[in-house]
């Protein structure tokens, strides 16, 4: 659990500036208000009532990616994203009740849709699956080509049009049934490396089903007995980050319960965003001693898939095809879960491939949830800079470790028109591809 609450933490900032050189937005604009120190001061002034709630301060705070790079760099862990979130909650509350502010209130249908989506779709795997079925139908029925052909998409903002183009192909409903509840270690000769529960995520399991299937395979091949509890639900990160703490707590309780019953050594995720939220469940129960202990033992078991395989597993034989590979870390993975380079270390173990470090990999890619929809200009500048660095590495494969990063990097590659030269892959899919190549007899 974090030592201090957001309100306590904001008072400890001495403005030393240690956060300046890791902030992706400050790196682009150079403007102090676009850096963590500026944000802490603005948020604190707002929370303490020293400055009014208005559109200007809202716009400024909305520019934060909440990537947590600053917390990692801070010598005393000032919780900048939590502080910014708290200020945004105050702004939202004020906007609801006050007539004094100039803030544009969200349009009614959009708000209702968001509420419905968060409360009833993300939190309900069945309904989310239905959305997946619709998407699959959209892609497979020819509707996608019709829509694109008719130019209907031009009525959507440019960012959404781009996202439509890079949405991965959804697996058909027949291949999205529930994962096997138990998959034993594939390494029959040796003692298992431990009992790992797989956390499949909500959107991840619909949009990136193949990556999830591969994750279970990879864990099993690396020597783990894998359990995939049926009762698990969405991690609640999106709910928590949009101020729906009650729903987040409800989801957290369901997950804690589900994974207690699984009786495992580790709980493994393949999405940095989910992993970070799960690892921070303790903060949801700060004031609830009955659940705090259970949340603690749950959070202590959270591991990223690359981390657990590198540290406790045994990576199976793999074979590359002579490609050069680079890796863009997930911010939540490297800054919240503190898994800095496990994915890169695994990739380096693939023979007949060459790993190169991505310059400035410390900076967020600009995905950050739906940031690229809300802050298109800044997000594009961040992405363009990122792609310049990717191109410098002359890599054929760009590895990611989180679905948001994956989509953003794919979008970056698409915008550069380099889909033929650069393949974007989740680290798990890259490793499984290389392992299967070795299994099929291709010697490196």
């Amino acid at each position: 659990m974090k030592l201090l609450t957001a309100e306590e933490s904001m008072k400890t900032c001495v403005r030393c500036g240690a956060c300046r050189n890791v902030c992706p937005t400050l790196n682009i604009t150079g403007r102090e208000a676009d850096g963590p120190r500026g944000r802490v001061l603005m948020a604190r002034s707002l929370i303490e009532g020293n400055i009014p709630v208005n559109q200007e301060i809202k716009d400024q705070l909305d520019r934060c990616l909440l990537c947590s790079a600053c917390v990692d760099a801070c010598p005393i862990d000032v919780q900048v994203p939590d502080i910014v979130m708290l200020a945004k909650e105050r702004i939202a509350a004020e906007t609801e009740t006050s007539v004094q502010t100039d803030i544009k209130k969200p349009v009614y249908p959009a708000r209702t849709f968001k509420d419905y989506f968060f409360d009833h779709v993300l939190a309900n795997q069945k309904r989310l699956n239905t959305v997946g079925n619709l998407l699959w139908f959209y892609q497979k029925s020819g509707l996608q080509s019709v829509t694109r052909g008719l130019g209907i998409l031009k009525f959507f903002p440019e960012q959404m049009r781009q996202m439509e183009r890079i949405t991965p192909p959804i697996l058909p409903p027949s291949r999205r049934k529930h994962h096997p509840e138990y998959t034993p270690s594939a390494n029959k000769e040796k003692e298992p490396r431990g009992r790992a529960a797989f956390f499949h995520g909500c959107i991840m399991d619909v949009m990136f089903r193949e990556t999830n299937d591969n994750s279970i395979k990879l864990l099993s091949k690396s020597g783990f007995d894998v359990v995939t509890p049926k009762a698990q639900v969405c991690c609640g990160a999106l709910h928590h980050h949009s101020g729906k703490k009650d729903k987040a707590i409800e989801l957290a309780k369901a997950n804690i319960q589900a994974f207690e019953e699984a009786n495992v050594d580790y709980i493994v995720t393949n999405a940095g965003g989910c992993g970070a939220a799960l690892a921070e469940y303790t903060d949801l129960f700060r004031d609830d001693p009955r659940w705090l202990e259970r949340a603690k033992s749950f959070s202590e078991k959270i591991r990223d898939i690359s981390e657990i395989i590198y540290e406790k597993g045994e990576m199976p034989a793999a074979a590359g095809r002579g490609e050069r590979v680079t890796y863009q870390p997930s911010c939540h993975l490297q800054y919240v879960m503190k898994v800095k380079d496990a994915p890169a270390k695994l990739v380096k173990q693939v023979p007949n491939s060459e790993y190169v470090d991505l310059p400035e990999k410390k900076y967020c890619c600009g995905s950050a949830g739906i940031y690229n929809l809300l802050q298109p200009k800044l997000a594009n500048e961040i992405l363009d800079k990122k792609m310049t660095r990717v191109k410098e590495t002359e890599s054929a494969v760009l590895i990611t470790a989180n679905p948001g990063c994956f989509l953003q990097m794919k979008l970056g590659v698409h915008r550069e028109g380099m889909e033929k030269q650069i393949q974007t892959l989740h680290v798990v899919d890259y490793l499984m591809e290389s392992i299967e190549r070795a299994e099929s007899g291709c010697q490196p």
Binding site: G17, T29, G30, R31, L41, M42, I51
Partner: protein, 478 residues
Amino acid sequence: MNETMTPPPLDENALSRLRNIFGEDRLLTNDTDMMTYSYDASFETQLRPKNPQAAVIALSTEEVSECVKLANEYQIPVYPRGAATGQTGGAVPVKGGIMLDLSKMNRIIEIDHRNMQAIIEPGVIQNDLNEALKPYGLRFPPDPGSANMCTVGGMVSNNSSGLRAVKYGVTRHYVLGMEVVLPTGDIIVTGGAKSKALKSVSGYDLAHLMIGSEGTLGIVTRLRLKLLPLPVTRGIVLCSFERLEEAGEAVNAVFSSGLQPSAIEIMDFNCTKAVNMMKPELNLPLDNEAILVFEVDGAKEEVTSQVNRLRTVVEKYTNYIKFSDEPEECEKLWQARKLVGAAVGLLKPGGFRVYGGEDICVPISKLPETLREIHNIAGRYGIICGIYGHVGDGNMHTGPVVNMNNQLEMENVEKMIDDIHELAIRMEGTTTAEHGVGIVRAKYMDVEHGAAMEVMRAIKKTLDPNNILNPGKMALPN
């Protein structure tokens, strides 16, 4: 955080001309922008922030020059700023005016490794420069604790240094030449307009007049820096002393034995306590008055032999000793020292670590006495503080810890800071060894410098007749 002074907006004509120079995106006048340009890392600006009237983000020497010329025309103060990591309010706009943000002028223009020099813009971060130099086996040695965030331009303007100054000196020793925008807006290059020489005694040494002038005499827009080879390896000896005096004697003995450590750091008992609170696994001895950390560097075999000699020299003064010449183990031993700046805040629940009186320097021989005296002063005001610093050159960082909501403590800590600065002068030392004067130490300048202060004022007046550049600092004319 209350006493914000909000100056009136700038003249509309001046603004529109600034807009022509910097464009819409790089001229800032929003309330939130002004608020975030009101501080640096000083305690002073936490208490009394100082808003500018406008801020501009410069990308070239020409923009800087045009901005300064315009400021002369309209008589608007200009405050140059790098990363604003200073502890003295040196880069804050005490008289409104234009905040000139140079942090985006951050290109490394040339690494001329065969001539052991680099040409850079002032906004380059110290650590980024050293990362870029690594492949060439070179480095830019001055190493302030803020190396991860401070700009080299800021280091030059404050002549900053760090824990390895005892062997490698300060920023001043590594500046070969610079391009400067003068307070009139004219552009000059010091050290020979086209020179790439590593030594020169041709003409007045203008670069060295600019170094440490804290942006009052000119704005550095390009730097030619001297580089050194990277040391192959380093070794650490950490030892603890029952009494401060023994630590002082140990330092003396090391120097007399002919050893030249690359760093000698001291931490007092409160610092030891704080570090143990933050990292219990370090398990530092608690009932002693001081810990010393020695670092030596060089080729592998040289380091091993230096570590062994150091151990023998300090052994008779210490009751606890740990050492290593293995990089990983050294890193662990260094941790104790690296954490201390942040850790002292833990000395008191809800405590806030104040940077004030944090940079005095006294003769090495007076160090034990000064340390005791600082604790006496703190005791008189009922304030807890941890003291650490670069004992190899007598430079100490005092970290008082207060509760920001306690009015009495806040008043007392300001008095305590005054007393520490007076103590430094009494001990034949200086009020600041690395961080600079800015606004927080301006009041001690006349006592410290006497008649020399008038010469400084005359120089300022000659170069900056309209008092445009960074006015209100260093006890220069307001």
